[in-house]
């Protein structure tokens, strides 16, 4: 019974198999710099274990003839408060070449952590990384213009962190209700 359920859980939908095939190519090139594949049916993903390799992995994913991840659909920030980490999740797709899509997670230390910028790989990442910085406070090494994008430039704190406390006043105006 247990075995049967486990087997049923291991059957991957066709879309996930596509992602797995793409992942295997990346794994074959970068080895332990990337984590195990997670066959999440909504969005299969892997994690970049060695963040310093992130730009190389990104360039490989974009340019390799078997991958052609030429489109960054989204870049989101995450606060892993319990693990004292911040992270990003990049949703990548290949428009006009392959049906595969995959998410890549990169993490860094929560305080003073930094992640290499991929704004030079996908231009979409430029504003998205600025937004992640604005909301979570991780810096992006090598970003061409890392400023806050939504909050005022002299805002205090990073609003989407789980322990965020809003400031009392902004330029003499009361902020909380």
């Amino acid at each position: 019974m247990d075995n049967g359920m486990e087997e049923a859980g291991n059957i991957m939908p066709a879309a996930v198999l596509e992602s797995k095939a793409a992942y295997d190519i990346i794994r074959g090139r970068f080895g332990d710099a990337v984590s195990e594949f997670d066959a999440n049916p909504t969005m299969p993903f892997f994690e970049v274990a060695d963040a310093s390799k992130w730009v190389d992995i990104a360039l490989f994913m974009r340019d390799d003839a078997r991958l052609k991840f030429n489109y960054m659909a989204c870049l989101s920030g995450v606060d892993y408060m319990e693990q004292e980490q911040l992270g990003i999740v990049c949703n990548l797709e290949s428009i006009g070449h392959y049906p595969h899509r995959i998410a890549v997670k990169v993490k860094c230390r929560r305080e003073g952590g930094s992640i290499p910028s991929v704004a030079c790989v996908w231009h979409t990442a430029n504003w998205h990384e600025r937004e992640a910085y604005d909301m979570y406070g991780m810096t992006f090494e090598g970003h061409p213009d890392l400023r806050r994008i939504l909050c005022p430039e002299d805002w205090t704190g990073f609003p989407l962190r789980k322990d965020y406390q809003v400031q009392e006043t902004y330029h003499g105006i009361k902020v909380p209700y």
Binding site: P152, K174, P176
Partner: protein, 188 residues
């Protein structure tokens, strides 16, 4: 104007007070500043457009605060925008009026608790004359608010401060629930 419809003889001479004429002119040509901040602006635009046709009240948006006497704060005022709203308000010539349209500019609306970036009521930075509730308010509600502004203008006069005018207006206020009940009884 009932007077204009009446058959006026005697060389069209009317006797009235300066206050009356001035107030009639001012309330019949309220020029709001043309700017919108969020979804309320869509309702404001709909009110300006042909179906509701604000121009029949002499109300049409101006592109410059220096030509406006009414500010319709239509939408969510972010902390970033708050200071700009103050600047725009200060650029408007007096006498000027502020209508706060919708829950966001009234009190922060749905952002009152977790909206770190939202000013919890535009009355924290500029004085508001009329609040129009709604999220967003329908054009009818906005027109109702504009007519309240017109009533306020009508209460003003030479030597009467805005505070006194507001007091006079408050004395004339009607309990909304009574009116609603009345209409419901009549239509039941």
């Amino acid at each position: 104007m009932g007077l204009l419809d009446a058959n006026i003889s005697n060389r069209n001479v009317l006797v009235t007070s300066v206050d009356n004429v001035m107030n009639w002119a001012r309330l019949s040509s309220l020029w709001p500043m043309g700017f919108g901040l969020a979804c309320c602006a869509i309702e404001m635009m709909a009110t300006n457009a042909s179906n509701y046709d604000l121009e029949r009240f002499g109300i049409f948006p101006r592109s410059s605060p220096r030509q406006s006497d009414l500010m319709i704060v239509a939408g969510t005022v972010t902390m970033k925008m708050a200071e700009k709203v103050v600047t725009l308000y200060e650029q408007m010539p007096e006498p000027r009026y502020v209508l706060s349209m919708g829950s966001c500019s009234n009190c922060g609306g749905p952002y009152w608790n977790h909206g770190y970036h939202v000013l919890k009521g535009v009355d924290r930075v500029i004085p508001v004359d009329v609040y129009v509730p709604g999220c967003p308010p329908r054009p009818e509600a906005l027109i109702g608010g504009l007519m309240k502004i017109q009533e306020l203008v009508r209460m003003e006069g030479l030597g009467i401060s805005r505070q006194d005018a507001l007091k006079k207006l408050a004395e004339k206020s009607v309990d909304a629930q009574q009116v609603i009940d009345q209409v419901r009884r009549a239509t039941a």
